[in-house]
């Protein structure tokens, strides 16, 4: 799935970043940044409740497809600005992580 297709869905809103042709190869939900740093891979749609600026560095380093912030958690402007500078896509959704997994599974990301 291409990020652009995800963003066409009503429940996913792009908050930052401009490149939307990144391919989503897998998804991971984890809130321990150091765990993600050690094990993450390219093309991940990373679901996390951590909404501070360090998530941008992790997503950028590992070339994630996007960060998905669930449950309508708000993201501060300074984080979005940093994400924009790094062209990291932060996506907001009202869904919880289970809901996001279900969505991807039903779309064939297995």
């Amino acid at each position: 799935m291409i990020l652009k297709e995800l963003l066409e869905e009503e429940q996913f809103e792009l908050l930052s970043g401009t490149t939307t042709d990144k391919e989503i190869l897998n998804t991971r939900c984890c809130d321990l940044l150091s765990w993600v740093m050690a094990r993450g891979s390219e093309g991940t749609a990373w679901i996390t409740v951590q909404a501070h600026s360090n998530i941008v560095a992790v997503a950028s380093l590992l070339e994630f497809a996007c960060i998905i912030i669930p449950e309508n958690i708000s993201v501060e402007k300074d984080v979005l600005d940093k994400a924009h500078d790094e062209d990291v896509a932060i996506v907001s959704t009202p869904l919880d992580s289970y809901g996001v997994f279900k969505y991807f599974y039903e779309k064939g990301l297995k």
Binding site: L32, S34, W35, M37, Q50, S53, L61
Partner: protein
């Protein structure tokens, strides 16, 4: 007697530490700011402590060797040690639980080990940003057992804080102090914890200008590392 302190400062060895945070610059800036005692607390390593301690000897500034250790739970704990040898031995213990992930300086900043002349001896190749695979309870005890002292760093920060990642401060932790970031702007938090803990107002400086001004004091009988550690260990 009251002494001006800053017990949480990073050097150019921490990847997020500015390149200007060299041993000489840190000592000189601390003296300029009127500090009596500082601690060098890089992420998960004490490898810049020997050079800064060597420099500080002649300067009149007391420098305590330390580290800011990131535990399994991504919580930051500042550890201060009575001497370089103890700090090095604890780092050797951390190495047994360290994730040997190669560092990427172009993405995260350089990790520079320097000598007392601010010359680069080595670029530390393993990332200092990964967690040490030790739980926070165990880590605090390990530091204490070595003769050092541990306190939770910036308990009020969104990232890497005990309140952010654990949600609370366990009552049974053998700690006597905790660090509140920008305590002046967080008076409610100070009031909440001041009866139970000594509140430390350290800078967590990654840039020279952020090193604390001479405003925060500790009251100890003499300006020695042992007196500082004793003060921070005792409730």
């Amino acid at each position: 007697m009251k002494y001006y302190y800053d017990f949480h400062i990073h050097s150019c060895l921490s990847p997020c530490g500015d390149e200007d945070m060299t041993p000489n610059n840190i000592v000189n800036m601390s003296l300029l700011k009127g500090l009596d005692v500082i601690a060098l607390t890089d992420h998960n390593t004490m490898k810049n402590c020997p050079s800064i301690l060597e420099l500080a000897k002649a300067s009149g500034l007391l420098v305590i060797p330390g580290m800011e250790i990131q535990t399994r739970e991504d919580v930051h704990i500042v550890a201060l040690f009575p001497n370089i040898e103890t700090a090095a031995s604890v780092e050797a213990l951390l190495d047994e639980h360290r994730l040997m992930l190669p560092h990427k300086p172009e993405k995260f900043g350089q990790q520079l080990i320097m000598n007392a002349k601010d010359e680069i001896i080595e670029e530390y190749p393993i990332t200092l940003l990964a967690s040490i695979d030790i739980g926070v309870d165990q880590l605090i005890c390990m530091v204490r057992d070595s003769g050092g002292v541990a306190f939770p760093a910036h308990i009020n920060k969104q990232a890497n804080s005990v309140l952010g990642n654990l949600g609370f401060i366990p009552e049974d932790w053998p700690i006597a102090a905790l660090e509140i970031f920008r305590a002046d702007e967080n008076q409610d938090l100070v009031e909440k914890y001041v009866k139970q803990y000594k509140i430390l107002r350290n800078s967590d400086a990654h840039y020279l200008q952020d090193i604390s001004e001479a405003v925060n004091t500790i009251d100890i009988p003499a300006l020695t590392v042992d007196e500082v550690i004793k003060y921070l260990r005792e409730t």
